[in-house]
């Protein structure tokens, strides 16, 4: 009895995700979809989204793995604070994130001048898109990788050390392979999050346009009919990654 009630309540939320997407798919006319696929501006914006998010995720992985490992293994004062800081981008509005990054890279302060001296001109460039995406994506990767490292028994790392493997070898031969699945799913989450970012990117880099910005522009200029095909296309791309993520995380259950 209670179960039936709970199922009913729960179904609303599931449907609330499925229905809008299905509606959008249904009102996409095939001819407009084909038109969208052959529109170079659409394709380049989707490609830019994928590409920029891949770079952002790459940087996050390189910097995030050591951080995630520290958070999983080390107890230190202020660890909770650090963990809260990492999750901050999830809770702050993305337009605010964009404004905040913009203030950081403004040439009025030393950090901004440093970035310009390094040859980066984020506003209106790929580097700006990557910066915005990194900011919003990194919590997803770091949290997932941290949970992965946490699930590796410390004892296995200890045994490795007693067998003669120094810390780094142990990390690459034991800790990393055993948290591979979590790291992989963190990568996919971070990438998907980057692709879908609108607010922060919009504020830092309106041009070149990433897919969500282009969709917004088409919607403003031409209305719903001309923005749905691009939306559908983008969703299809993201959906592929989402399926991939589910596939990967279901395999994790089997291997442990």
């Amino acid at each position: 009895m209670y179960i039936a009630f709970f199922v009913l309540m729960g179904s609303f939320l599931v449907l609330y995700i499925i229905l809008p997407l299905v509606m959008m798919f249904m009102r996409t006319s095939l001819s407009l979809l084909i038109q969208a696929v052959s529109d170079p501006q659409v394709l380049s914006s989707i490609a830019l989204s994928l590409y920029a998010s891949a770079i952002s995720t790459g940087i996050i992985v390189v910097l995030g793995i050591p951080l995630a490992y520290l958070l999983a293994r080390l107890d230190f004062r202020g660890k909770r604070l650090v963990e809260s800081i990492i999750d901050l981008p999830i809770v702050i509005p993305h337009s605010v994130a964009g404004i905040a990054i913009l203030s950081m890279i403004s040439e009025r302060n030393p950090i901004g001048r440093g970035i310009h001296l390094a040859g980066l001109d984020p506003v209106g460039h790929l580097s700006g898109i990557v910066m915005a995406m990194m900011f919003v994506s990194l919590p997803f990767f770091v949290d997932s990788a941290r949970d992965g490292f946490k699930s590796v028994p410390v004892r296995l790392e200890k045994v490795s050390r007693t067998l003669g493997a120094p810390f780094l070898s142990t990390f690459f031969r034991v800790s990393l392979p055993l948290s591979k699945r979590s790291i992989l799913s963190g990568i996919i989450m971070s990438w998907a999050r980057g692709i879908s970012e609108f607010g922060a990117v919009l504020i830092i880099t309106y041009h070149p346009m990433v897919a969500p910005v282009l969709i917004y522009e088409r919607f403003e200029a031409y209305g719903l009919e001309y923005s749905t095909p691009i939306s559908t296309l983008l969703i299809m791309v993201i959906f592929v990654f989402f399926v991939l993520l589910r596939f990967v995380s279901s395999h994790r259950g089997e291997s442990n």
Binding site: P153, R155, L156, K158, V159, S160, R161, T162, L163, G164, A165, P166, F167, S169, R173, V174, P177, L178, N256
Partner: protein
């Protein structure tokens, strides 16, 4: 060989204090004590995972206290074996070889795998192995890097009780064949009898006694050790002008003790039960009443009350039948002064 000198370490709830033991080359040394007294913490300190707050560790005369674990050349077999789940048995065993300046020798590997009887398992993954098989693999993985000392952390306790005896013999055999210096911790005194050359009894983070197994068993140095090694009769004795008294019973202990109060331990099998008073050289004879008879195949444990004292006596099934020992029966108990252990 392995000298531990005044070692103290604290980790959360666990602490060990001022531990001094010296493990000799080629010896099987067992540390025994109840579970949860910090034995694993102690081993991991020897391995280099915890920094001792005090004391030094020497291996072959070299102070290794500040060495990282990978440079100590001490290997460990954990209670849960800690095999790498993403590697096959073969890869597990060969894991540490690349860090040692040892030439990989096909013969050595084959010999080890044959000795442990695991050649059929080489291509399998750990999750498909039984407890005993995992243990053999873990031992092979530790031995192949030719450590100076092999540490064993409760190696038998996670095995099915019916396999324990066999595995105990197996561990003994492996140690004999390889001549390795082994330091093992356990909570089971049976392991000590079956395996140890020498033993240290540990309680609440301190070593209560170190010595040859026979010595510790025959001459426990503290009340805890006595109880732990299975002496069930432990009494608080009082020295008076006319002799030693335990709860009003006068004991002849056959020697002089310089303290006013001390414990006396008596092994249950050192007490003789009879229907009549035995006239013998044994100087302690009391009349009592049987309080309880417990059948502990193949023996009976008989509790005999003498005034307020209760003696635990081990009696064979034959004697129980012969004398008709049952609750309420009057019997005599006799023991030699030399059977009494002063603690």
């Amino acid at each position: 060989m392995l000298e531990i000198d005044g070692l103290s370490v604290t980790l959360g709830d666990f602490s060990v204090r001022d531990i001094t033991i010296s493990v000799r080359e080629g010896e099987f040394f067992v540390i025994v004590g109840p579970t949860g007294v910090g034995k694993t913490v102690f081993l991991e300190t020897i391995l280099g995972f915890y920094r001792p707050s005090n004391g030094r560790i020497y291996l072959k005369g070299i102070d290794i206290t500040d060495y990282p674990p990978e440079r100590r050349n001490i290997a460990m077999v954990y209670q849960d074996y800690a095999l790498f789940p993403h590697l096959t048995v073969r890869e597990n065993i060969l894991y540490g070889l690349r860090y040692k300046s040892l030439q990989f020798s096909e013969d050595h590997f084959d010999g080890l795998v044959k000795m442990l009887g695991i050649w059929k398992l080489l291509d399998r993954y750990p999750e498909t192995l039984s407890g005993g098989e995992k243990q053999r693999v873990a031992i092979a993985r530790a031995l192949i890097v030719q450590p100076e000392v092999l540490l064993l952390d409760e190696p038998l306790s996670s095995l099915d009780p019916s396999f324990r005896d066999a595995m105990r013999r197996e561990i003994r055999r492996i140690q004999k064949v390889t001549g390795k210096t082994v330091l093992m911790v356990t909570h089971d005194f049976l392991d000590v009898f079956a395996l140890a050359d020498r033993v240290a009894v540990m309680n609440a983070g301190v070593v209560e006694q170190v010595g040859d197994v026979g010595d510790v068993f025959r001459r426990p140095a503290s009340r805890f050790v006595a109880e732990f090694v299975g002496m069930k009769n432990i009494f608080l004795a009082e020295k008076r002008r006319d002799g030693v008294y335990v709860n009003g019973c006068r004991f002849d202990i056959g020697r002089d003790v310089q303290r006013d109060r001390f414990f006396i331990a008596l092994r249950p099998e050192d007490i003789i039960v009879s229907e009549e008073r035995v006239v013998s050289s044994a100087r302690n004879t009391f009349e009592g009443e049987v309080i309880d008879v417990i059948h502990l195949n193949p023996y009976f444990e008989v509790k005999v009350g003498v005034d307020k004292l209760v003696f635990n006596v081990v009696v064979t099934a034959g004697s129980v039948m012969e004398m008709g020992i049952k609750k309420g029966k009057k019997v005599w108990i006799t023991f030699k002064a030399s059977s009494l252990h002063i603690i």
